[in-house]
């Protein structure tokens, strides 16, 4: 349960090191309009955003890593 409250979309991103998670951080920052949380050990990124899932997935894939949408994670 790495995703904190309010973070909605959960993605798998094949990150292996801090360089990877930093790259993910940069591409998401550059996209803008996102709040996110990266769980490097579990290779998960949780995103709360005004952008749709397709845009977010495209952005994550820009890093050149495998990425897929895991689903919605409801805030509790």
């Amino acid at each position: 349960m790495a995703c904190v409250d309010l973070l909605k979309h959960e993605f798998f991103v094949d990150m292996t090191c801090e360089g990877c998670s930093n790259a993910v951080t940069r591409v998401l920052h550059r996209l803008g309009g996102v709040q996110f949380d990266i769980d490097l050990p579990n290779k998960k990124v949780c995103i709360d955003s005004e952008h749709n899932v397709d845009t977010l997935l495209e952005t994550l894939k820009k890093t050149g890593k495998n990425a897929s949408y895991l689903g919605e994670k409801s805030a509790q």
Partner: protein, 71 residues
């Protein structure tokens, strides 16, 4: 074919190196790419009809690294 050196900041290990080599290596007009973790750069040999220094810099930047062209 032309050759260029792009400075790359933000790589921490060999998998970062491989990610860039594979991703940029797949682009059109790339003959060869060698990324160095120690030197923090990428040496790219490319077809100048298909790529420019700016498009190569942008490709690495887009992946989430800081990319700079030496001048």
């Amino acid at each position: 074919a032309k050759s260029i050196v792009v400075g790359v900041e933000g790589m921490t290990c060999n998998s970062c190196v491989q990610t860039i080599e594979q991703h940029v290596g797949k682009m059109n007009g790339i003959h060869n790419i060698k990324v160095s973790l120690e030197d923090k750069n990428a040496v790219i040999i490319y077809d100048s009809k298909l790529q420019t220094p700016a498009t190569l810099q942008e490709a690495i930047y887009d992946m989430g690294f800081e990319a700079t062209l030496a001048d």
